[in-house]
């Protein structure tokens, strides 16, 4: 199959990334079906998409005057039957992704592009959870995707040419720049970034530096726009811990074992910006 236009997108999971991906797509004029198991989460997502659209337009990252794509929210995966591509953006837990990918691949037409927005689980491992492994590709969008154009694209060893072509078509519609990298735990960014966040948190845990000091040296000395702990708060500490566990289990490298401070913050509900507190105080919870 040659490259085909993407005219309708499905997004599964209306958390931080799923909502922001819906914002990116509707902001580019693409109709979106956003699926989640929780009606209250979907209601909140609708409000957040409206707010994020304005933020992206304010920043000049999405068109200000173009007509936005329609956003449909639903708890039924059957609503994905007409989608040309579906992005899963559910929690970074293998058992959750396995269940969702199986359900989605059963609900969509053959030939529909399936995208995992996983942080760290290898694409080929996830291909086993789908009905048609050749239709699965990995696209690791950054947070927030409506402000950051560049994405990691991961072709698994079984990803077919049609899916690769459709990935290019999807990225074109979304005005994203894809960088193709190899499959494996954490791909490029998270294999490095999650380890860095873990070490930064461990330094704070040991009392060797404050979060402000850790981030200040990365910003001031290395020119990073944000330090690792501010980045962790943006990602969500729950996602960081989940990703570290995925990396630890798949690499055998003890350096990925989430440090006690990260685990304690997640247990206390301090997940970063999304809950209003992580390594920093953020005031109100932010989407």
């Amino acid at each position: 199959m040659s490259e085909q236009a993407i005219t309708r997108l499905g997004v599964v999971g209306a958390g931080t990334m799923g909502t922001a991906l819906a914002t990116l797509a509707v902001g580019r004029g693409l109709p979106v079906v956003l699926v989640d198991v929780d009606d209250a989460v979907l209601d909140r997502a609708r409000d957040n998409v409206a707010q994020q659209l304005r933020l992206a337009q304010l920043m000049g990252r999405l068109p200000r005057t173009a007509r936005a794509g329609e956003l449909v929210t639903t708890t039924s995966v059957d609503a994905l039957a007409d989608a040309d591509a579906v992005i899963e953006a559910v929690t970074e837990l293998p058992e959750v992704k396995a269940k969702v990918l199986a359900e989605v691949s059963a609900a969509v037409r053959p030939g529909t592009l399936l995208v995992t927005n996983t942080s760290a689980i290898p694409v080929d491992e996830q291909a086993d959870w789908t009905a048609r492994p050749e239709e699965l590709v990995g696209i690791h969008f950054m947070n927030p995707p409506y402000l950051i154009r560049t994405v990691e694209v991961i072709h698994g060893p079984r990803t077919g040419q049609a899916a690769r072509d459709r990935t290019d078509a999807l990225l074109a519609v979304l005005d994203c720049e894809g960088v193709v990298v190899g499959d494996g735990p954490g791909f490029v960014i998270n294999r490095i970034l999650q380890r860095m966040i873990n070490e930064a948190a461990r330094i704070v845990e040991e009392g060797r530096a404050t979060p402000e000091a850790v981030d200040a040296v990365f910003q001031g000395c290395l020119g990073h726009r944000t330090g690792p702990l501010a980045t962790a708060d943006l990602i969500g500490l729950d996602n960081v811990v989940d990703s570290l566990r995925v990396l630890r289990e798949r690499t055998g490298d003890l350096g990925y074992e989430p440090c006690d401070l990260l685990v304690a913050k997640v247990a206390a509900g301090d997940h970063g910006r999304k809950t209003g507190r992580g390594f920093y105080e953020h005031g109100e919870a932010q989407s």
Partner: protein, 91 residues
């Protein structure tokens, strides 16, 4: 439904905007300082500014007006509010 909204002088708009920014940044600002170049405020704060101005001055910022340049300085924000208020009242 017709609602009447109080008229604000440029000085009142300026004082209101300055107060809002200073409450959030805990520092004083010159009306012509670029808020975003300073690194003291985030893009999320920019959206909070938009929403605060809309609510306080009963305006709607949309289309080509929804750009960061309109919110870089207090002076730019006063000009935007003034223009949108005047357009709304047909002046």
């Amino acid at each position: 439904m017709t609602t009447s909204t109080p008229q604000h002088t440029n000085s009142e708009i300026e004082q209101h905007v300055l107060r809002f920014i200073e409450q959030h940044t805990k520092k004083s600002w010159d009306v012509d300082t670029d808020l975003f170049a300073s690194g003291a405020v985030s893009s999320m704060f920019a959206l909070q500014l938009v929403m605060a101005l809309e609510k306080t001055f009963d305006i709607s910022v949309a289309g080509d007006d929804l750009k960061l340049d309109n919110f870089r300085t207090v002076t730019a924000m006063v000009a935007l509010v003034r223009r949108l208020r005047d357009e709304d009242s047909g002046e």
